[in-house]
């Protein structure tokens, strides 16, 4: 029989105003197992905890029931308090008489009655509690960063600088991500590649960083501290060790001129050869062969690149390679893309080459871009005189079919940036921005936008564009409304730039599934806590960096990347992790070996082994379930799937739950 102490908290008047605390104490005093019951103003306070510790010692308590606020609030506190007095922390149960009683009921008598019942249930449960011990699992001191954009780069650098080894897996042939496509960055207007390229080089040269470019995560197993990850290194068809990055192969590839292979990096605004580096500053400076388009791979003929390569690095026989690496922590920095605009026929994106997205505009304005930085219309290569920007294309759009319900956050600022850069280069360009709201929270952000209006006289009109109609003369007719002046507007434009909504990289869903990291309706990764744990996934050991978690600009991405790195470092700095002791347990004498539990276990924590058992004096070899305690997260799915009742959950056992049911229904 347990010796249970019951402690009822007043929580000032939070509980005591609606629950007759003294009466609760009197009524639970004679419950089975209870040897001590008392109340106190604030149980969680230093003095309250002291009271508990004293009682444990004086009455030699073996179990505690604290009637107080939600266990989500102070269960940890009271467990620590029990431990201080030498009691196993898992011999504590909390009856939630604040959030689930005093705060929601008005009638004192009713609330008191309910508080007593909740206390009884907790007492009944504690009677069946057993001391549990947290397990320990070792930590592999190596981190994986999925995604090699600015978020992944920054996270990797910060972790590596702290002295831990980091691997970056990037599916494209080069790291750099979206930022490498940009021209200038707001609000300072410094050149994106000028600030990014040194970081890319640093990553490449860092002794603690290993780069897996043109690679993808294939399989993830394990758990916090001990992940096993299969990485598929796709065949580049170029031996990275031999390649000097001279670029001869790309220059001589016959498909460079006649191939019509749109460059992904330049968003299809120009073509690339079949053997290519995405951009000049690519890291690593090793080209890849796009086997789907390469003549050699299609017909077996050509082979120009292999012949021309001075270092004989081209290797047509190269195969995909799978490497398995152990990691302690994984950071998801898979970034974003913009949405497909097919559903927005009204903006004529697919009809006119002069309707472009903002990323395409970045490429058009970039000195290394397809036009050498000269802004021109893709239709006739003339410089546009009247440019219309349309904001919120697909953002803040409730129709799931077409767009995204959220604000993409960065469009207002980059549009102001684009407008000013254009005005800087070609001052007599007329720029009109149609917006729903201009959103510029951030240091020096509103000032930046106001500069576009006040200094550059960019014409901001509140009102969304209804339609863009390509005209026979090559111009675009923009139909919009000026809501503040209450007028419909029909204006001609030479170019229309769409601020297309951003969305998480489409590949993230697959990755999140592999990691069992939760994801929201918009495919953004979910934080463990939106406010207090913003860079952690609810799945232990998985961290979030950059746009994968939600829309954000470069400075925010870099700060979040650093924050994620700190969390990773904090994890890797530990030699061992404590594991949750509330794990599943298999009673080998009851187990049928039917594998039902293994089928429902989300963590692969259950295996089957042939073990020797003694059952009623009979020695037998049986196939029974074995729970890997380090993998088990304690969800209990196996317990309710188990047909024989062999599987049970520590801390929430079948008997504990039924006894709570009984106590409540008494």
């Amino acid at each position: 029989m347990q010796k249970i102490g019951v402690f009822v908290c007043h929580c000032g008047t939070n509980i005591a105003a609606t629950v007759d605390v003294k009466k609760v104490v009197e009524l639970v005093r004679y419950e089975p197992g209870v040897v001590f019951a008392d109340d106190y103003m604030y149980m969680c306070s230093e003095a309250g905890q002291e009271k508990i510790i004293e009682a444990i010692k004086e009455y030699k308590l073996t179990g505690l029931v604290i009637c107080s606020c939600s266990p989500r609030m102070h269960e940890k506190t009271f467990r620590a308090c029990a431990e201080k007095a030498g009691l196993n922390p898992y011999m504590v149960e909390v009856a939630n008489i604040r959030e689930q009683c005093s705060w929601i009921h008005k009638d004192k008598e009713e609330a008191t009655k309910k508080a007593v019942i909740l206390a009884r249930a907790a007492i009944a449960k504690v009677n069946l509690n057993t001391p549990l011990k947290e397990g320990e699992s070792p930590v592999t001191k190596r981190a994986l960063v999925i995604g090699g954009g600015i978020a992944g780069i920054q996270t990797a650098l910060d972790i590596a600088d702290a002295g831990y080894e980091v691997d970056i897996v990037e599916k494209e042939p080069s790291i750099g991500g979206r930022m490498s496509q940009f021209d200038k960055t707001f609000p300072t207007l410094d050149c994106a590649s000028c600030i990014l390229t040194p970081k890319m080089v640093e990553v490449n040269q860092h002794p603690n960083i290993t780069l897996y470019t043109y690679s993808e995560v294939e399989k993830v197993s394990g758990y916090v501290g001990n992940f096993d990850v299969d990485i598929r290194k796709k065949a580049r068809s170029v031996d990275a060790d031999k390649c000097t990055g001279c670029g001869e192969c790309s220059a001589k590839c016959p498909l460079g001129k006649i191939g019509n292979i749109p460059s992904e990096f330049d968003r299809g605004l120009r073509n690339r050869p079949a053997i290519y580096m995405p951009f000049a500053q690519a890291v690593p400076a090793v080209p890849v062969i796009d086997r789907a388009n390469c003549t050699y791979f299609k017909t077996g003929k050509c082979g120009v690149c292999a012949k021309i390569c001075p270092s004989k690095a081209v290797d047509y026989e190269q195969q995909d390679e799978i490497v398995t690496v152990k990691y302690g922590a994984i950071v998801v920095a898979t970034g974003f893309d913009i949405i497909n605009l097919d559903k927005f026929g009204e903006y004529a994106y697919n009809e006119s080459p002069d309707v472009i997205t903002s990323i395409e505009l970045e490429r058009l304005m970039n000195a290394a871009g397809p036009t050498g930085g000269h802004l021109e219309r893709m239709s006739d290569h003339k410089q546009p005189k009247d440019i219309v920007f349309i904001q919120c294309v697909g953002s803040r759009c409730d129709s799931e079919e077409k767009g995204k319900p959220y604000c993409s956050k960065v469009c207002c600022m980059y549009t102001a940036k684009h407008a000013m850069l254009i005005k800087d280069h070609w001052p007599d360009t007329n720029i009109t921005v149609f917006y729903i709201d201009v959103r510029t929270p951030g240091k020096n952000f509103d000032e930046f936008y106001r500069r576009a209006v006040e200094q550059y006289h960019v014409n901001y009109i509140k009102g969304q564009v209804g339609k863009v109609k390509p005209q026979p003369d090559g111009t675009l007719l923009v139909q919009a409304a000026d809501l503040l002046d209450g007028k419909q507007i029909n204006m001609k434009a030479d170019m229309v730039v769409l601020a297309a909504a951003i969305e998480p990289n489409p590949g993230v869903r697959k990755i999140a599934t592999m990691l069992t990291a939760s994801i929201d309706n918009n495919n953004f990764l979910t934080e463990a806590h939106a406010k207090l744990r913003p860079v952690e996934s609810p799945t232990a050991g998985i961290f979030l960096s950059g746009m994968a978690q939600g829309p954000k600009d470069i400075p925010e991405t870099v700060s979040q990347a650093g924050a994620a790195a700190v969390k990773v470092i904090g994890l890797l700095a530990k030699d061992h992790l404590k594991t949750n002791p509330c794990t599943a347990q298999c009673d080998t004498l009851l187990c049928n070996g039917c594998s039902t539990c293994a089928n429902v276990c989300p963590y692969g924590a259950i295996t089957y082994d042939d073990v020797q058992v003694m059952d009623h004096g009979l020695r037998e070899t049986r196939r029974v379930a074995q729970v890997n305690l380090a993998l088990c997260q304690g969800c209990g799915a196996c317990t309710s799937a188990c047909p024989s009742g062999a599987m049970d959950l520590q801390g929430f056992s079948n008997r504990q739950i039924t006894t709570e049911v009984d106590a409540i229904c008494r």
């Binding site: 106001r450 209006v453 006040e454 006289h457 014409n459 509140k462 000026d482 503040l484 002046d485």
Partner: protein, 129 residues
């Protein structure tokens, strides 16, 4: 510089305020005692001027219904002061008409009992500069 641009520059010069600074917050319109009389609301003045729709502004009732009470000028968070903008517009019109918009002889005809003396004085001061 086009004729229009010259006019806008002139408005900026006369009023001493910059229409581009307007954020369309609407505080002026919210403060305007003549709101119900205005066909173009004070917050729209700046955009009319930026767009160059001066003729429309001049021909509106609003340009001439402004009492010059200075509420909008006092309260504008961006120092755009729509009252000054519309006043500048009126001045441009007055200047176009030649120096003397109002002759002293015309005054008795315009007088009504409700007309405050002060208005006459200020009208002379304003339109006969």
């Amino acid at each position: 510089m086009t004729e229009l641009e010259k006019k806008i520059e002139l408005i900026k010069e006369i009023s001493g305020s910059d229409p581009y600074k307007c954020m369309r917050c609407g505080k002026c319109t919210a403060s305007c005692p003549a709101y119900s009389e205005m066909d173009i609301k004070p917050h729209q003045f700046a955009s009319y001027i930026i767009r160059g729709d001066l003729d429309e502004l001049v021909e509106s009732k609003a340009a001439w219904k402004c009492l010059g009470c200075f509420a909008c000028i006092e309260r504008c968070p961006r120092d755009v002061q729509p009252g000054k903008l519309v006043d500048a517009t009126r001045q441009i019109v007055a200047r176009q008409r030649g120096g003397d918009y109002l002759q002293p002889e015309e005054v008795p005809e315009l007088l009504t009992e409700d007309l405050p003396q002060q208005l006459l004085v200020s009208a002379f001061r304003r339109y006969r500069r």
